[in-house]
């Protein structure tokens, strides 16, 4: 969402990008996403972006159907206050807010926000944070909690979570580490994974599915009329980078303590095509989420169903640029997906 109107934003150093929201561009993008049948838009968290809650509130006021998946880190605010903010956005937008829980990327940036905990401690704190949040959403009554990171006494709020079909927001949680998985099983509705070939994911996602948690992948998309054109598009994307920006993300990978992000770097270095539909060539330039499903509409549809058969039921797509890729997805891929979903699985 934050790259609306700014192609290849991900290739720039974070200190060089603007965090001033271009509301007109965001609204155009969000309305197009509504037209395209997209369920929700991710509003990410970071010092180089607009604040995701305030942005979701603004865009929610200016749109009608799309949901906003607001990124949340623990350690930034009181869970009571966070629930109050989320519930207020829900009240203003007919419940069009869901959450993407992230642990944070670099220790360096966490310190901007006063967070000096280690990777594992952050998971522990996120666990407490979500326990309190879910207590507000599930109990409705008074919330009491005493933990290592948060203590809440007789917590109550007059602002409930209001939506047509829910009394609490859908919670997504990203991460590939073992603590991340435990956290997802305890608190989330869906866990985001970075993509590996579908067959390789099947076994890994089973414990989550058994626990009743959905699995989704965070993946870029390159759809073109033919396979050849799609592959050519990958090379055109690379042509945007002339060596220099590569360092941006290599530097980042060195500083990051996120298991998900560093493991994708390893995958990217091993082989640019870990599966016929999965391309990792842009990862050194644009970061881990640029790992892409590539192909013709039929090939991409087949790939999505391979993932579905492996247990993956939600997809968080990115495009470069987002708008064009989203329109191609809506026009050429989504009809094939919906048609095939109608066919009963034999």
């Amino acid at each position: 969402m934050s790259s609306a109107g700014e192609n290849l934003r991900g290739a720039k150093a974070r200190s060089a990008v603007s965090g001033i929201p271009n509301i007109d561009a965001h609204v155009r993008f969000a309305k197009q996403a509504e037209e395209c049948g997209i369920e929700s838009l991710l509003t990410a968290f970071g010092f180089h972006r607009a604040d995701p809650i305030a942005l979701a509130a603004a865009l929610g006021m200016l749109t009608t159907r799309i949901k906003f998946m607001v990124a949340v880190r623990s350690g930034i605010c009181s869970p009571t206050l966070f629930v109050q903010q989320v519930n207020t956005v829900a009240a203003l937008t007919g419940g069009r807010i869901c959450l993407n829980v992230v642990a944070g990327h670099t220790p360096e940036e966490q310190k901007y926000y006063g967070d000096f905990l280690s990777h594992d401690e952050r998971y522990e704190r996120t666990d407490e944070f979500l326990t309190v949040c879910n207590a507000f959403w599930r109990n409705g009554g008074e919330v009491n909690f005493s933990g290592r990171h948060y203590t809440i006494e007789k917590g109550k709020l007059n602002t409930p979570f209001v939506a047509a079909d829910r009394t609490r927001p859908e919670i997504f949680l990203g991460g590939n580490s073992a603590p991340g998985e435990r956290l997802a099983m305890k608190h989330a509705d869906c866990m985001w994974r970075l993509p590996e070939p579908a067959a390789a994911m099947r076994e890994k996602v089973k414990p989550l599915l058994d626990a009743g948690i959905e699995v989704g992948i965070l993946v870029s998309l390159i759809v073109r009329p033919t396979h050849e054109e799609a592959v050519e598009a990958t090379q055109l994307l690379l042509a945007n980078f002339d060596g220099a920006p590569k360092r941006t993300h290599e530097e980042f990978a060195k500083r990051s303590d996120s298991v998900a992000f560093t493991s994708t770097y390893k995958l990217a270095n091993a082989d640019d095509w870990p599966a016929p539909y999965l391309w990792t060539g842009a990862v050194p330039y644009m970061g881990a989420p640029s790992i892409a499903i590539v192909g013709s509409p039929q090939e991409v549809t087949d790939a999505l169903f391979e993932y579905r058969d492996a247990g993956v039921t939600q997809f968080l797509f990115m495009g470069h640029p987002d708008l064009e890729e989203m329109e191609r997805f809506a026009a050429d891929v989504l009809p094939l997906v919906r048609e095939r979903e109608e066919v009963p699985v034999s």
Binding site: D51, M61, T88, L92, K111, Y112
Partner: protein
């Protein structure tokens, strides 16, 4: 002279005590249409900003003001917030994002919190003095980000390292061109109203704020306490209510009706549990500090209910007295809020010796908003 008004809550019952108001579940939900109408009426009345409260019974004010800002064009919002509930970097991030969305129409009223019980519900277990010490650190980090663009801070309550944000505070918005024009430094910062009658609050206003908001008291005492603040180049403000009538007699009846409806037990209970200096020093005084200054509703409606009571002339005399005492900003409220705001803009402002932005409002435009 700037006149601000308090934003009505969703489902607000005119004249209801603080305790009754909190017990109404609908006050937790925004009433966007009614609140946006109130905002537009305030714009027509020449009101500068609307104070949007923070509390467990209310929607979050940052989010609410984002929505209301998108429905209005010139009114500003004073967002009330408390330290200790959110990391200062993130708070500045949210406020700056809001400023970009609504063209900089936001300022901040930082309060330390007046109910230990409510603070604990948000995970805050500090006592009164510590909450002020923490608020000072909170604002030091905020001001570092606003004034210098980057801040490292190691205090007792907050520690940040090389904090910076790519979202600056923007004073004017309105489309991509305007945004580009203001995106380059140096950037502006929001006005910081520091509320509270304690010595800590006054010091905080001097070191970190732009205006010290006192709960209404006799203008002589406001002047005496505020001298140091004025000397430091900061403004003095007063938070109070307006209870008017065509005559003083009618106003007195309105005032006494307000308290007659209520049983004061709940508020007495609140006062007993509060560790706020202003709550405890204003609750038990003689009801009339001046012929036009009444404290009789404090037990039922809290300290913001200390009111200028009387005819338009009486109230104008009161405002002028505060102005002579060095006060340049007022956050006002009344019952019902809209009627009292219109009364003030129509009847009182034109009589002010000290003038005021609101004097130029047009009756007809106000009438249009109301129908």
């Amino acid at each position: 002279m700037k006149f601000h008004w308090r934003m009505p809550q969703g489902g607000e019952r005119a004249g209801a005590s603080r305790a009754l108001q909190a017990s109404l579940p609908e006050t937790g939900l925004p009433d966007l249409d009614a609140q946006a109408n109130f905002c537009r009426a305030a714009e027509e009345c020449g009101i500068d900003s609307l104070l949007t409260d923070f509390g467990w019974t209310k929607p979050d004010p940052i989010v609410l003001c984002t929505a209301l800002g998108l429905r209005t064009s010139s009114i500003k919002f004073i967002v009330a917030y408390r330290s200790g509930l959110i990391c200062p970097t993130s708070f500045v991030h949210q406020i700056n994002t809001l400023s970009a969305v609504i063209g900089g129409r936001v300022s901040i009223n930082v309060v330390a919190g007046d109910s230990p019980e409510e603070q604990r519900a948000f995970g805050d277990f500090l006592d009164h003095d510590e909450r002020y010490a923490r608020t000072e650190e909170f604002l030091a980090v905020c001001n570092g980000l606003w004034d210098r663009g980057s801040v490292s801070f190691a205090g007792r309550y907050y520690r940040v390292e090389n904090a910076k944000l790519n979202t600056p505070f923007l004073e004017c918005g309105g489309g991509a061109t305007a945004l580009k024009a203001v995106a380059a430094p140096p950037h502006s910062k929001p006005a910081l109203y520091i509320a509270g009658n304690s010595e800590q609050a006054r010091q905080l206003a001097i070191t970190e704020g732009t205006c010290w908001m006192q709960i209404a008291d006799d203008p002589d005492r406001i002047r005496e306490r505020g001298a140091a603040v004025l000397k430091a180049g900061k403004e003095l403000g007063v938070r109070m209510s307006i209870i008017g009538g065509r005559t003083r007699g009618e106003a007195l009846k309105n005032a006494y009706d307000l308290v007659r409806r209520e049983d004061g037990k709940a508020e007495t209970e609140f006062v007993r549990n509060s560790d706020s200096i202003n709550v405890n020093t204003t609750a038990n005084k003689d009801e009339w500090l001046r012929p036009w200054l009444w404290t009789g509703a404090v037990k039922t409606h809290g300290t913001p209910s200390i009111a200028l009571v009387g005819s338009p002339t009486d109230i104008a005399e009161g405002i002028d007295a505060y102005h002579r005492a060095g006060v340049t900003q007022f956050i006002l409220s009344g019952w019902p809020k809209l009627d009292s705001m219109l009364f003030f803009a129509h009847e009182v402002v034109p009589l002010l010796e000290c003038g005021g932005k609101a004097a130029a409002f047009e009756h007809e435009r106000v009438a249009t908003v109301l129908t």
